[in-house]
């Protein structure tokens, strides 16, 4: 069968979803697909665009899995703008004159930002907010600017305002309507939203129309509002979107009066060979400016092309929940109570900054809509009540009453299987249940299997509830018990140890455990004790809990000998010290290798040699590097302003300061840090648990990165900190991680498991939302003050040194070690080499 030619114009979020839907339906066996994309990069997350301001990482926003096009034989042409469609000849012509034939054509050209017809709207320094290129231009313009203004106080306008605010500009929002977010929020909600946003330092000019933009006196522009004006350096237009239907108009497809390509339920336009999906499409006189309906259209269009699923597009729910400048805002269904006979129940607490409104049907039994400002935690429940027309459990006023006053919480159990949990990706409760039946046991599993909660994340709490309740029903409640001896999570045990001041394993076992302990709980408890009390790890009570590496303060290698890593703070080392390391390595014939953490690893030390090796190292001024522990390992640094012509801060000094502060800190897993002296990032700090990058004004702090098995870029946590702020923030962050992480959970995985994500972490660490900051700092201060070099302490104790022998009844070493020399050093023999060695 000859394949048909399918052309897709536009590769945005909806375009990519369409391709994925086509792949899922085996559409690539019917169609040869070519994608024409006007932008310079493949599809990215436009909904999350604002993240780009803080992360400055275009790749992090990508929605196109790497290798996707190649794997499915799809041709993607970037930077390719289409100039015309010839419906008669079924060809498309690009701006460079290339002509491509098609059997089927799909328009996913999206929309363009509406720029109001104001004199001066095309001045340099006026921007729109839609593509990464727009954002790059705004970032550039913000350098050296002091004031920024956004025209438009809707959802996107407030996003843009947040971006300007984050860029450090004095920020204004100019809205023509009398209130913010006029589409989604009612008057009282809008007033509260305004109050909250102004409290953050953004000035709101509501009911204000801009008549002209002219040259300013103090700043670049003057926005003229009748007899008033505002001067600003940067202007962003965010006054709504318009369907990008130029191509459709030119080839005379039917378009709506106010734009948009008319489509039927299968997304087919007035030409049966052409479909339109996403923001360019007009369905039932409506254009949908949200991604979820676009995704549904993409699925329906793919269904139609592959001859499947005849239900087609049925319209879409426009409810939204978002966080605008830290303020929760949600709007559900008929938010304005425009249904005849509907009534509202309203709750307003001005001092707490919370507004809730429920719109209920005339009969009082059904929820028609809702507005939430300041606290949107009930969004999931209210949305389900509304979407599924569930009979209200009681008095409608209870829906908006403050929690704790007997508000009925709609449990996940109350939902029918058909309930749509994730509207962005159209995932029903039934689909989640199926995935759970198929073996998903975590939110992360469900995300990757069903895509639920992967777009806006608004349904994450509900997905978790469904998961918990379904697992419980199946008797599968995932327990996070440490092991068979302790029916507690690591976090719970940490808490018990700290609160009750427990410092021995036997006491803990007696009170909260059973049996004898094991190789899982013993080292974990030892680590908890160390994080809390920081006693010497080889005291008789603690020694038996330590893994062999901690017990012998060295890293066991595959032949049972150990490697030795002295601490080299920040990777800075004097020639004399380097010579000492070389001399020791030579004397004991130790295989020598430079580590990734800027230190030197010496391999092949027998257990009985460790004290002698360390005596020499300690005498030369070295300390334990804790390479053997689940502990803070190293702080990698670049040379920074010490020598580098680009360095803006002394990254080596900061690295040494951090390494000396956190040395010996025991934690759920190893911790690595990095400090770079400028944005070139030569220390690769963004691949560390904690990354510090110098700025002109101080330090940017990144957290929860990882190299290794599951690489993860660290995320920007706080900017332009001075030295003390930096240390204080890291103190809190590390202690909070140590308190709450699971056994052997790196910061990256821990971060992904935190339900509130990075925002929650910022609230706890930076805003002290849990009131823990002082305690966390005090705990870290205790660790810092009680630091001791474990090797120095051990060498001073004759009793302890007796352990460092291979046989208790014989002073000889292990007689069965065998080595091979390779590249001028020795390494343990492999089993087949051992046989030869023994035989010869």
């Amino acid at each position: 069968m000859n394949k048909q030619q399918l052309l897709l114009i536009g590769h945005g979020m909806v375009g990519q979803r369409f391709l994925e839907a086509l792949v899922a339906r085996d559409g690539l066996s019917r169609f040869d697909v070519t994608v024409l994309c006007g932008e310079s990069r493949p599809a990215y997350d436009r909904v999350g665009l604002t993240r780009y301001f803080t992360e400055r990482d275009a790749d992090a926003l990508s929605l196109t899995p790497s290798g996707f096009m190649e794997a499915h034989g799809i041709t993607l042409k970037l930077d390719t703008r289409v100039s015309g469609i010839d419906r008669q000849a079924r060809t498309v012509t690009t701006e460079t004159g290339e002509r491509l034939g098609y059997d089927r054509l799909v328009l996913a050209t999206g929309s363009y930002p509406f720029v109001p017809p104001i004199d001066g709207n095309d001045r340099a320094g006026c921007f729109v907010y839609r593509t990464l290129e727009d954002l790059d231009a705004i970032i550039q313009a913000a350098e050296g600017a002091r004031v920024g203004a956004v025209i438009g106080g809707g959802l996107l306008g407030l996003e843009a305002a947040k971006a300007l605010h984050d860029l450090g500009l004095e920020t204004h929002v100019v809205e023509f309507a009398p209130r913010l977010m006029a589409v989604q929020v009612d008057e009282m909600g809008g007033a509260l939203l305004r109050e909250k946003i102004e409290a953050l330092g953004v000035t709101v000019h509501a009911g204000t129309g801009t008549q002209a933009i002219t040259d300013g006196e103090q700043h670049r522009h003057r926005m003229v509002f009748g007899d008033r004006h505002l001067e600003t350096d940067v202007i962003i237009f965010s006054a709504g979107i318009r369907p990008q239907d130029t191509l459709a108009r030119a080839c005379e497809l039917t378009v709506g009066e106010r734009g948009g390509v008319m489509i039927d339920d299968h997304c087919v336009t007035s030409d049966p060979a052409i479909q339109a999906i996403g923001e360019v499409a007009l369905w039932s006189e409506r254009v949908f400016g949200l991604v979820a309906p676009g995704y549904q259209m993409a699925e329906c269009a793919a269904d139609h092309l592959c001859g499947q699923g005849e239900s087609g597009f049925q319209g879409a729910d426009m409810s939204t929940k978002l966080k605008l400048m830290g303020v929760d805002v949600a709007s559900i269904g008929d938010a304005h109570g425009s249904t005849p006979g509907s009534r509202s129940a309203v709750f307003l607490d001005q001092s707490a900054g919370v507004y809730k409104k429920a719109v209920v049907s005339a009969c009082g039994k059904k929820l028609l809509g809702a507005v939430l400002v300041g606290d949107a935690s009930d969004y999931g429940d209210l949305l389900q009540l509304c979407l599924n027309s569930i009979d209200l459990p009681g008095d409608p006023a209870a829906l908006v009453a403050p929690a704790g006053a007997g508000a009925p919480l709609l449990g996940a159990d109350a939902l029918p299987d058909s309930a749509q949990i994730c509207s962005c990706n159209n995932v029903s409760k039934g689909a989640l249940c199926q995935a759970i039946d198929a073996g998903c046991t975590s939110v992360a599993d469900l995300k990757s299997d069903t895509r639920a909660a992967t777009t806006c994340g608004g349904c994450a709490t509900l997905v978790k509830q469904v998961l918990d309740s379904e697992l419980a029903k199946r008797g599968l409640e995932v327990n996070n018990h440490l092991c068979e001896h302790f029916a507690y999570s690591r976090q719970a045990l940490y808490h018990l140890v700290r609160v009750e001041g427990i410092d021995s394993f036997d006491a803990l076992l007696e009170r909260y455990g059973e049996g004898d302990g094991c190789d899982l709980c013993k080292p974990t408890v030892a680590s908890i004790f160390a994080s809390c009390w920081n006693q010497y790890v080889l005291t008789p009570e603690l020694a038996g809990l330590q893994d062999t590496n901690d017990y012998f303060l060295a890293n066991m290698q595959r032949d049972g000998t150990y490697s030795v890593v002295p601490r080299v703070p920040g990777g800075e080392i004097t020639p004399d010290k380097l010579i000492t390391i070389g001399q020791v390595a030579k004397k004991y014939d130790l295989y020598t290798k430079i580590t990734g953490g800027q230190r030197v690893d010496l391999f092949g030390a027998r257990v009985d040699q460790l004290p002698a090796i360390w005596s020499e190292l300690v005498a030369a001024g070295f300390e334990s590097g804790h390479a053997y522990g689940k502990a803070m390992r190293t702080v990698k640094s670049c040379v920074g302003s010490t020598w580098c012509r680009y360095g803006v801060q002394d990254s080596v000094a900061m690295a040494i300061r951090l390494e000396e502060r956190y040395r010996g800190l025991r934690s759920p897993h190893k911790i690595k840090l990095g400090v770079s002296g400028c944005t070139r990032e030569c220390a690769e700090a963004q691949s560390k648990d904690i990354g510090v990058i110098a700025t002109e004004k101080g330090w940017n702090l990144y957290v929860c990165g990882n190299g290794g098995m599951r690489p993860r870029h660290a995320e920007l946590f706080a900017s332009d900190l001075d030295d003390d702020q930096l240390l204080r923030t890291i103190d809190r962050f590390l202690m909070f991680y140590i308190r709450t992480a699971d056994r052997l959970q790196r910061t990256s995985v821990w971060r992904e498991s935190l339900e509130g994500g990075l925002e929650y972490l910022r609230e706890v660490i930076l805003d002290d939302s849990l009131g823990l900051a002082d305690e966390l700092e005090a705990q870290m201060a205790h660790i810092v003050d009680t630091y001791q070099c474990e090797w120095k302490t051990t060498l001073q104790d004759e009793e302890k040194l007796k352990r460092f022998r291979h046989f208790i009844n014989d002073a000889t070493p292990d007689n069965e070690l065998a080595y091979v020399r390779e590249r001028e050093q020795r390494r343990p023999a492999y089993p087949h080499e051992r046989i030869e060695l023994v035989e010869s």
């Binding site: 094991c518 190789d519 899982l520 809990l545 046989f807 208790i808 292990d814």
Partner: protein, 128 residues
């Protein structure tokens, strides 16, 4: 310490010929192990928190390194075990059986306390 603890199968089978003193009990930190040289063999000797003594091969059949004396003691479903410090397999202290791989079994040696001296018999106990 008045009670003398001997690995029970050993006394039952009575294959013990030469008891060899290896160390004093107090030289072993409770709930840890030490390596012992026994003629041509390497033995891992363990003292539990309730002062029971066990002796097994020190050789780890998975890593081929002589390291089991440096493993962590624990219990799995009520059986006392030592975990290999390298690849974490568990071996039953009483029988030498590997919990993860029933085909692998370490040799177990009779061990007793004579006064404060720990003694091990050079001939391994045979199981099954």
């Amino acid at each position: 310490m008045s009670e003398t603890i001997i690995d029970k199968p050993a006394s039952r089978q009575g294959t013990v010929d030469t008891w060899q003193p290896v160390c004093r009990l107090e030289e072993i930190v409770p709930e840890t192990g030490v390596g012992v040289r026994l003629a041509q063999r390497q033995v891992a000797l363990f003292r539990t928190r309730d002062d029971r003594l066990f002796a097994l091969d020190n050789h780890d059949p998975f890593s081929h390194a002589n390291v089991l004396a440096r493993g962590l003691l624990g219990s799995v479903a009520g059986r006392r075990v030592v975990a290999s410090p390298l690849y974490k397999q568990h071996f039953c202290l009483e029988t030498g059986e590997c919990i993860e791989d029933a085909e692998v079994r370490l040799q177990v040696f009779p061990v007793r306390l004579a006064g404060d001296r720990v003694e091990i018999a050079a001939s391994p106990v045979r199981h099954g």
